[in-house]
């Protein structure tokens, strides 16, 4: 996918930059090399030129990058570390907070220790509870707590 993405990027970039840069490049060639390249100038680029050049550069630049990424990903997976499709930082922060507090967390806890507002924290917690990832719990005073199981040792 890195190679394919690179090809598309280079193709779009060349479609945009080619008409802008071509006169300057040709002017430079005429100035320094005189009549040597007159037969070529102005060089007419066809659709095939754009596609093939993008493919060539895409492979030359993208393939080493892709190999590096795949090797690193494979090494990471062997060490039980994931590189892609990760959960949002806000949810991971809420979960780490829940772990530190034996699974119980409130919107106020989150807002006091992160950049999230109480409203945003509340919305995330409600969504997590609706999706079945958290349970509701109420204190004697009537405060609502959200409980995440799995952070208390040996729970049933």
């Amino acid at each position: 996918m890195i190679v394919f993405g690179m090809i598309i990027c280079i193709w779009l970039l060349s479609l945009w930059l080619q008409p802008i840069l071509q006169p300057y490049v040709e002017g430079f060639l005429l100035f320094f090399y005189g009549e040597r390249y007159e037969a070529y100038i102005p060089y007419e680029m066809t659709a095939l030129h754009y596609v093939v050049n993008a493919m060539t550069l895409g492979f030359i630049l993208g393939l080493p990058l892709e190999i590096k990424y795949k090797r690193a990903k494979s090494k990471g997976l062997k060490k039980l570390k994931f590189f892609e499709s990760l959960e949002s930082e806000n949810i991971l922060f809420i979960l780490s907070l829940a772990r530190d507090q034996q699974g119980y967390v409130t919107a106020a806890d989150i807002a006091s220790q992160s950049a999230l507002t109480i409203q945003k924290a509340q919305n995330i917690l409600i969504k997590l509870q609706k999706d079945g990832f958290a349970d509701l719990s109420v204190t004697e005073k009537g405060d609502i707590l959200y409980y995440f199981a799995g952070f208390t040792e040996g729970e049933e």
């Binding site: 062997k78 060490k79 780490s96 799995g150």
Partner: protein, 435 residues
């Protein structure tokens, strides 16, 4: 004064470089215009590269999927083992950093395979418990977090990388040179010769691609089976399928068809746990069966990358060959072309069909195992020690049975062993009677 002189020297150096740059640029710009004129040939070359890339893409995707599934399952088991056998979507997501919905899906899949069980009511958050036969009965710790890369291996990898880079540069320069040299007029004039050379190059490329892909699949299968057999040996001949992702590099999905095949072909026997769980038995399979040690860690992704890079390099060479071959047919004697084809075909044939040393190695190892085990060896013992698939090991032993080198004996446990004739212990030799 010194500053003035220094500035003059810098200006002089810059000037020299500018003049040199313009002079060298002369050749480079010529080459670029020549390649732009030959875009149609560059298009043919890039199509070749793209087809090669696509061919290996699916294989890479399969390997990546297997590796991903195995890691997900191993992380879930690790989390459960750390927390007295309990894992939830939340604790799994925090450890793995994967999305909650994906974590839920993984845990449900593991529940279906009876690795995890849950007793939570519908509508309440699910708490998963690791199977009792898996939790707390880990015979040894997983070695995933070990720092395996020592200095010597890194140095070897570095030199290999430098060598590969040199080869890649050399081949790319040859392709660029070919693209500059190609003359469209000449090719159109001698179409049939160039077409003939291109078809020959393409046939070679197809054979090489097939060989690289099949040899990669074979090596991958061998390593996968060896990985599982190493775990079985460490587990005193017992295979609990639920433990597989924790101790090997296989996932449940990749391992199931493999073990099912082993059982169907009678390479191992089966027993049931009290809860209905299956345990596969490999009788008398302990570290006493080991005659060859394999230390190096196998990683399928870098191995696949190496094979794909090789194929892409061969695609480059095929492109060069089709031009050089066509040129040779037009300008030189066609005998040179036929000779070159024969040499390339010979080299391919040597690599593709030279199995004799491999067979000798396997037979030698089989005899070593048989000697160590008092004359009898099982399919899995040979497969592990020779690092081949169970099917390959069974094929060799069956061949031995047909040629009366060994005889098949069914043990009480179910899986057959092969008793090799002529493998006699020292005591048996001394006790033998003279006739």
């Amino acid at each position: 004064m010194n500053k003035f002189l220094g500035s003059l020297v810098i200006l002089f150096v810059i000037g020299v470089f500018l003049i040199l740059g313009l002079f060298i640029g002369y050749f480079i710009i010529d080459g670029i215009y020549q390649i732009l004129d030959n875009t149609i040939f560059l298009a043919i070359f890039m199509s070749l590269i793209s087809i090669g890339y696509a061919l290996f893409y699916m294989e890479g995707k399969r390997l990546a999927k297997r590796q991903m599934q195995r890691t997900q399952q191993a992380v879930a088991m690790t989390v459960a083992n750390r927390n007295l056998g309990v894992v939830t979507v939340a604790s799994f997501a925090l450890e793995s950093q994967l999305p909650l919905t994906q974590c839920e899906q993984i845990l449900k899949e593991m529940e279906q395979r009876k690795v995890l069980r849950t007793s939570s009511l519908p509508g309440k958050m699910a708490v998963y418990h690791l199977d009792d036969h898996v939790y707390g009965q880990m015979p040894y710790e997983s070695d995933d977090n070990e720092e395996a890369d020592d200095e010597e291996t890194q140095e070897l990898e570095r030199t290999q990388r430098i060598r590969k880079k040199r080869i890649v540069r050399g081949v790319l320069l040859t392709v660029i040179g070919t693209l500059i040299m190609i003359s469209e007029e000449q090719i159109l004039l001698n179409q049939s010769e160039y077409l003939y050379a291109a078809i020959t190059a393409l046939i070679f490329l197809v054979f090489i691609g097939r060989y690289l892909l099949s040899s990669h699949r074979k090596a991958d299968q061998r390593h996968s089976e060896h990985d599982v057999l190493t775990y079985v040996m460490d587990n005193e001949g017992e295979l609990n399928p639920k433990e597989i992702p924790y101790y090997t590099h296989e996932s449940y999905q990749s391992m199931e068809p493999m073990i099912d095949k082993w059982h169907k072909r009678n390479y191992c026997s089966i027993t049931h746990q009290e809860d209905g769980g299956i345990i596969y038995l490999f009788p008398n399979y302990t570290d006493e069966s080991e005659v060859c040690e394999y230390d190096e860690e196998y990683d399928p992704i870098p191995a696949w990358i190496d094979k794909r890079s090789k194929f892409l390099l061969f695609s480059c060479l095929a492109f060069v060959f089709s031009y050089v071959g066509g040129y040779a047919l037009v300008h030189w004697n066609s005998l040179i072309f036929i000779l070159a084809c024969t040499i390339i075909g010979g080299i391919y044939g040597y690599f593709a069909f030279s199995q004799k040393p491999e067979l000798e190695r396997i037979e030698r190892i089989a005899l070593q195992v048989a000697t160590k085990k008092g004359g009898a060896l099982a399919v899995y013992e040979l497969a592990y020690n020779a690092r081949i698939t169970m099917d390959e090991a069974a094929m060799l032993l069956e061949k031995w049975e047909q040629t009366n080198i060994a005889r098949k004996v069914y043990s009480e446990e179910g899986a057959p062993v092969y008793v090799v004739s002529g493998v006699v212990s020292k005591e048996q030799r001394l006790r033998s009677e003279h006739v």
